[in-house]
Amino acid sequence: MRQWTGFLTIYWRDMLRFFRFKTLLVSSLVQPALWLAFFGIAMSANFARLSSGMAPLPGIREVGYLTFMAAGVIALTTLFTSLFGGIVILFDKNWGLMREVMASPLPRGHVIVGIGLSGMTKSFIQVSIITAFGILIGVEFFSGNTPVQVLVSLLGMFLFVGIFSLGFVFLSSAIAASLESPEGLQGIMTLLSLPLFFVSNALYPAAVFPPALSALSAANPLTHLINGVRYFTIGPDFQVIGVHYALSVQDVALSLGVLAVFTAAMFGIALWRFGKAVVT
């Protein structure tokens, strides 16, 4: 019955809706780029002034704050886009649109996978734009790489972004399937995203955290995404504003493993919550 391709139907519709309204589309693409441009350039100037007196650590490659932050912006954009990726389920439920799907022979897991893939696609598009735009305004990604290395780095980055994004779309799908109405949704999302954001090394080095926060940061999927993104875009060993970053292949593999486990768990939770949801 070609049943296994069912999720493509859900994916197709969600993409159709995403590309339909150009203003929404354009704003969702331009926003992270603008953030990078304004925030990044302003902060770079700040940090440059602050660290102007410090001597760089000898023998370690130095990168600018803008470059450091660009990786963080990629991670945060992925987080926010993915956290809202499943919300479409809540709106479809509320508008009655979910009934058609729920009364159809399509297994519920396919709905989750379809929505997950479309959230992932949106993240991929945004990340591509941030990367391209960043390089345009002076972000030193992939510096000194051969074209083949660049390709490998891109694949690595998208692998991390993809797995992380799926995990958070699944999480938001689980939330959306559990909620009765969109009230309170904003609150839940803020409650979820702010700690993730602050207890991560997205915009400042985790090395400066007290030990308890460091432990939390190590359990934070966002930290692992950022590790992966930095490893592939900037490199395994670099310093920024006097802080040394070193990631071994093992570190990166561990991060990938943590994300994979997280995403698998979120898929399970989404399946469970969606299985319980009664849609009429």
């Binding site: 058609e100 159809s104 022979p105």
Partner: protein, 331 residues
């Protein structure tokens, strides 16, 4: 009356927490017929439909649809049915064609078949000119038609329609009825719910009247009306209580009901000839007759008879016969 049942429901119960929405419902629908579940708001019609179409779990009871047991084989039930929900469930940001395309994909229809079927259905519901219009720009009637087309996309054996003409103007309603009849003529069994008497009466082969979670009676429109007798005679007299006793002694008079100003007699004979007899009898007993009215029972009367309430203003406890059979006080 021959065709076998395609839907069989026995002792169906459903509650939402404390609310017992459906309290032991049994009925069957024959293949190829138009069957209506008629009842006021809150009777439990949508609950019944939602259980049958697998949106609500089957809590208690036995249901067979298109030969499949609902509890054991919901997947096959889903493949055998088409659905038009009570509320509009069209994505505002998709075109008519995309709505149908999505539905066809959802049911894994092959691309070529999908394409042909979409054109066929757009023509059937006269929406070809709107094929590439976003549904947000359609009128209420067009939306309903598109939903019918969607329900038919997979050539289901049974089409479920929950209040198909709610909120439509009289003209549009009539056109919807024509579509429903046309679909039925093609061989699709129709199961619909409605709270419009005229809709149930003019469309259906058989009707079940539902009230407070139970089915109070079932039959063809003609059978239901005939159960009330040949005619309904309404009389206002100088002494309604005594008139009732007197009329109760007449052999051709069936059930009698007292209204606020008069009494209604359901009579088993042609009322045109019986009425003078009744008046004579009353006069001979010294009871004066102030007003009379005579009419054939309507589905409204059937509804009032079985539920003790009028459908239009439910909860009032008053029938349409209150001021006379035609609902208008004579004289």
């Amino acid at each position: 009356m021959g065709s076998p049942p395609i839907i069989e429901v026995s002792s169906l119960f459903h509650s939402y927490g404390e609310t017992e929405a459906v309290r032991g419902v049994s009925f069957f629908v024959r293949e190829g017929e138009i069957f209506s579940l008629l009842g006021p708001n809150g009777a439990g019609k949508s609950t019944v439909i939602n259980v049958l179409i697998t949106l609500l779990p089957l809590q208690k009871g036995n249901v067979t649809i298109a030969g499949y047991d609902l509890a054991r084989d919901p997947a096959h039930v889903r493949r055998s049915i088409g659905i038009v929900f009570q509320e509009v469930t069209l994505d505002r940001d998709m075109t008519c064609r995309e709505i149908l395309e999505f539905h066809g994909r959802l049911y894994q229809m092959p691309a070529a078949e999908r394409k042909a079927r979409i054109e066929e259905l757009l023509a059937l519901v006269e929406l070809r000119g709107k094929a590439d219009t976003l549904t947000r720009h359609l009128s209420g009637g067009m939306k309903r038609r598109l939903e019918i087309a969607r329900g038919l996309m997979t050539r289901p054996r049974i089409l479920f329609l929950d209040e198909p003409t709610i909120g439509l103007d009289p003209q549009t309603r009539r056109r919807m009825w024509d579509y429903i009849r046309a679909v039925n003529r093609e061989g699709t069994t129709i199961f619909l719910t409605t709270h419009y008497m005229d809709e149930a009466d003019s469309l259906s082969d058989r009707i079940s009247i539902m009230d407070h979670g139970t089915i109070v009676t079932t039959g063809t429109g003609w059978e239901l009306k005939n159960r009330l007798g040949e005619d309904l005679i309404y009389l206002e007299t100088s002494d309604n209580a005594r008139a009732r006793d007197v009329l109760g002694g007449v052999p051709d008079v069936g059930e009698l009901r007292e209204k606020s100003h008069g009494i209604v007699a359901m009579v088993k004979k042609d009322g045109t000839f019986l009425l003078p007899v009744l008046i004579e009898r009353l006069i001979s007993e010294g009871i004066r007759v102030h007003a009379v009215n005579l009419k054939k029972p309507s589905l409204d009367d059937v509804f009032v008879h079985y539920t003790g309430r009028e459908l239009r203003d439910e909860g009032q406890g008053r029938g349409p016969l209150q001021g006379g059979p035609a609902g208008v006080r004579p004289g």
